[in-house]
């Protein structure tokens, strides 16, 4: 556990970056510090590994005062990932990952072997090991940065906007892998971001900070979306939060789906025409996995005699029983036929659900969401 | 001739008053010998640098040849020039050509780097707004490259002032003559005045020419100044 005890950082000239911060980051959980620029979130993070020294107050890791050990020794036990990876350009990927173990006196062979393991763990192929950072894409560099931070197996990791410099598609991949890694490793992580969506997605606990370096609210993600304490937090958490809060409620296995007539790829169009319901028929593959919708119009105007992939409308999203209510509602709303496709965990079709039925389900199960919607916009 | 004329400041004043005509003419020739090669070098470097920025394959040989020319000591170049140009050993043309060669060796690469460093989004925006290639070069790329090019010019002009003085050792008349004269007059005992006058004038000339480049740079890049009107 990382504990801030009335920590203040005041710069010469009087600017107060962090003001009397009291915060606990629980062991094995991800605590996200989020807020607008100038709120002191990065300063707070950097006071944990003493990249910045507090003006007053203490930072404790598992009850031990961080100021009791030398900064270098303290930092070797804390993983550190920053926005622009900060990889050493003159060292290969494998040697970059091995940096901290080598500083700690691990022999080169062991350190390299461990590096190669980690490379795989962060989803990079082994042949990347001999490359130099300049030969990697931004997303790959960030993965190597994460691997480097993990190399000495530190219990604590500090991550300073690690995914904000990559494009949205890569960012989402990195976030998903972060969640996968963290569920395996269970590190105590403090994560800084200015992106509230990222905070809600990754954080077990979210600390919203306001300009001037004070805490506005500390809460779990669904709690934060449902009950922002004041207008500042509500404004920062933003619009659509009722909808976004649905992301924290799981679709029950008893979800009331309707049976849907389907046609397989490769079956005849005549069959497809017979199974049209309100102008649409759902196409599945041989394993009963949904492939897309076929409209009455394309059934009639098709030149082929068979159902082919290129005639399909791919507009609808899929929901799964283990997924969130948000996915379920989105599947219902985005489906061209008006019927949201629901699958089991393995991707096999369970049935479809109408938007009205999805909303009814939300009313029954999504108490937090209803709560959030009930409060309305206060910002 | 020597000790009687004395060292120290009074000697300097006496020396200057008795030799002012000579000193002025040396200062003048030193100035143009320093400046003309920079102007020639700039005129040659602009198209060369443009070619290297535009066509990638031109850049490596340009850098290599420039680097090679750079390694040749100036005195060696001054001495070899007559046999290349068919000039007399004391012809100032030797100095002008040799220093122009150095300036091109330095500036062509600087121009290429400066034109190559124009931000891609600016270049794209200019093209998208309908600038033709030559228009973009003159109205966008070149103005943005000015600060880098003038930085190169400052290095070239300050170096030239020192190099021109070296030409004095083989007898070309400019401020270097003050040093050779001082050296010869010191054979029986130190005689500082011409040497001191020479050092002071060379430093002053270098600073003034440097300042001229800075002023030109500022005039050409009003957008870099704080509070510039737009």
């Amino acid at each position: 556990m990382i504990t801030f005890e009335s920590v203040t950082k005041r710069y010469p000239g009087g600017t107060v970056a962090v003001d009397q911060l009291d915060l606990e980051a629980p062991t094995g959980k991800t605590t996200v510090l989020v807020g607008p620029s100038g709120c002191g979130k990065t300063t707070s993070l950097r006071m944990i590994n003493r990249m910045i020294e507090p003006t007053s107050g203490r930072v404790l890791i598992d009850g031990a005062d961080t100021s009791a050990v030398s900064p270098a020794r303290l930092r070797r036990g804390i993983g550190y990932v920053i926005q622009h990876s900060g990889l050493l350009p003159h060292r290969t990927v494998v040697d970059n990952i091995a940096t901290v173990p080598l500083l700690l006196g691990v022999d080169r062979r062991t350190a390299r072997a461990r590096s190669l393991e980690l490379l795989e763990r962060v989803g990079l192929p082994q042949e990347m090991a001999k490359r130099y950072p300049a030969q990697l894409s931004g997303g790959q560099q960030q993965r190597v940065g994460v691997a480097r931070a993990l190399a000495a197996d530190p219990p604590v990791m500090l991550m300073d906007e690690p995914f904000s410099a990559v494009d949205p598609v890569v960012r989402e991949q990195l976030q998903n892998e972060f969640l996968r890694l963290q569920s395996d490793l269970g590190k105590t992580i403090v994560f800084v971001t200015h992106d509230i969506d990222e905070a809600v997605k990754l954080g077990d606990q979210i600390a919203v900070m306001r300009v001037g370096g004070t805490l506005a609210q500390v809460a779990g993600p669904s709690e934060l979306l449902a009950r922002p304490v004041d207008a500042f937090v509500a404004g920062f958490v933003g619009r659509d939060r009722g909808y976004r809060a649905l992301g924290f409620t799981t679709v029950p296995s008893s979800v009331p789906v309707e049976r849907e007539e389907t046609v397989r790829l490769g079956e005849s169009l005549t069959t497809a025409r017979d199974r049209l319901a309100h102008g649409w028929v759902l196409v599945v593959d041989a394993e009963d996995r949904p492939q897309g919708w076929l409209s009455e119009h394309s059934v009639r105007s098709a030149r082929d005699d068979l159902v082919t992939p290129d005639a399909l409308n791919l507009g609808g999203t899929l929901a799964t029983v283990r997924g969130s209510l948000r996915e379920l509602l989105d599947a219902a709303l985005s489906s061209p036929s008006g019927r949201g496709v629901v699958t089991d965990g393995q991707g096999h079709l369970l049935g479809t659900i109408s938007p009205a039925a999805a909303v009814r389900l939300i009313e029954e199960h999504g108490s937090t969401a209803a709560d959030a919607a009930g409060r309305g916009e206060t910002a | 001739m020597n000790a009687a004329a004395g060292g120290g400041p009074p000697g300097v004043v006496e020396y200057v008053t008795s030799h002012h005509a000579e000193i002025l003419s040396w200062l003048w020739s030193h100035t143009w010998l320093s400046v003309v090669p920079v102007l020639i070098g700039l005129v040659v470097s602009l198209p060369l640098g443009y070619l290297a920025a535009r066509h990638r394959w031109v850049y490596p040989p340009l850098v290599t040849v420039g680097g090679l020319l750079y390694t040749i000591p100036s005195l060696a170049l001054f001495v070899v020039m007559p046999s290349i140009l068919g000039t007399r050993i004391l012809d100032p043309v030797n100095v002008v050509v040799a220093l122009s060669v150095y300036t091109v060796a330095l500036l062509a690469r600087v121009v290429a780097d400066a034109l190559g460093a124009v931000p891609e989004d600016v270049a794209q925006a200019a093209t998208a707004m309908g600038y033709t290639s030559p228009q973009r070069l003159l109205k966008v790329d070149l103005p943005l490259a000015v600060p880098v090019i003038t930085a190169g010019l400052r290095v070239a002009v300050v170096a030239n002032v020192s190099l021109v003085a070296i030409a004095g050792t083989i007898g070309v008349p400019e401020l270097g003559q003050l040093f050779t004269n001082g050296f010869q007059l010191s054979s029986d005992g130190p005689y500082y005045p011409p040497i001191v006058v020479g050092v002071v004038l060379c430093v002053a000339l270098a600073l003034v020419l440097d300042l001229v480049v800075v002023v030109v740079d500022r005039a050409l890049t009003p957008w870099l100044r704080k509070g510039a009107r737009t």
Partner: protein, 260 residues
């Protein structure tokens, strides 16, 4: 030029005779003055440059050192010779050598100091920050991170210094010191143009050889990750905002060389 070739290939010029040193002896003498001066200058400027770059303080020292460039080399040489040589007794080269070495050292300091401090000072803040953040001490950051990254600039500073000094050492023959410059001034005095041109060729070749040697050292010591010279087959377009700048760009940005 053909006369120079005749002069250079005349065996008589390659042997010491009647107290006149031959070409090998003059080349060795030239190398001694030059490399001695570069060694002294590097011993002073390299640690100072590392310190200024690492602490990011004392940039004014670099500015002052750069001011030395405005001094006319030849004028300074004559001035120091006239001031110093009367105080150095004895025979031998002392009266010529001491002022010459001082000038050569002064000429060699600015490129080494400027390039070293700029090279170290311009190491990306993200890399410095990350290196400190993963637990390197200030000394480890300097030696394991900043120096390897700044190495191309540091070596190119030394290369500039060598070229500067080899060239200026030629001029030192004017006050009476040995070295290749002798052929230029003796040839001039005797109107022996083949000797002059031969000497010019010699000194140009010497400068080129030294520069090539240092270029090889640079190529050998600088990490491919810094120079951008990746092995064939592993090259991949550098992407993303953190991708390194174009290969060679850092060198181009702070080239300090001026001919001498």
């Amino acid at each position: 030029m053909s006369n120079a070739f005749t002069w250079l290939t005349d065996p008589a010029n390659w042997h010491d005779q009647l107290g006149t040193p031959g070409i090998p002896a003059q080349v060795v003498a030239h190398l001694e003055y030059s490399l001695g001066a570069v060694a002294i200058a590097t011993a002073v400027a390299l640690p100072l440059g590392l310190l200024i770059g690492h602490t990011r303080r004392g940039a004014s020292i670099v500015t002052v050192a750069n001011g030395l460039r405005a001094l006319p080399t030849f004028g300074l040489l004559i001035l120091l010779y006239v001031v110093i040589s009367p105080h150095i007794g004895g025979r031998g080269d002392g009266p010529y050598l001491v002022p010459t070495e001082i000038v050569l050292v002064l000429m060699a300091i600015p490129p080494v100091l400027g390039n070293t401090s700029a090279g170290v000072g311009n190491v990306s803040p993200a890399v410095r920050d990350a290196s400190l953040g993963i637990g390197m001490t200030g000394r480890e950051v300097l030696l394991r991170v900043e120096v390897p990254i700044a190495l191309p600039l540091i070596i190119s500073g030394v290369r500039s210094a060598v070229l500067q000094v080899v060239a200026t050492a030629t001029v030192a023959a004017y006050v009476g010191l040995g070295g290749i410059g002798r052929y230029l001034y003796d040839g001039l005095a005797a109107r022996d143009f083949s000797q002059m041109t031969g000497g010019a060729v010699l000194v140009a070749v010497l400068a080129l050889a030294l520069d090539t040697l240092l270029a090889a050292v640079q190529r050998w010591t600088v990490s491919p990750g810094v120079s951008g010279r990746f092995k064939a087959g592993t090259a991949q377009a550098a992407l993303g905002p953190a991708g390194a700048a174009r290969p060679g760009a850092p060198e181009a940005a702070a080239e300090e060389g001026v001919p001498a």
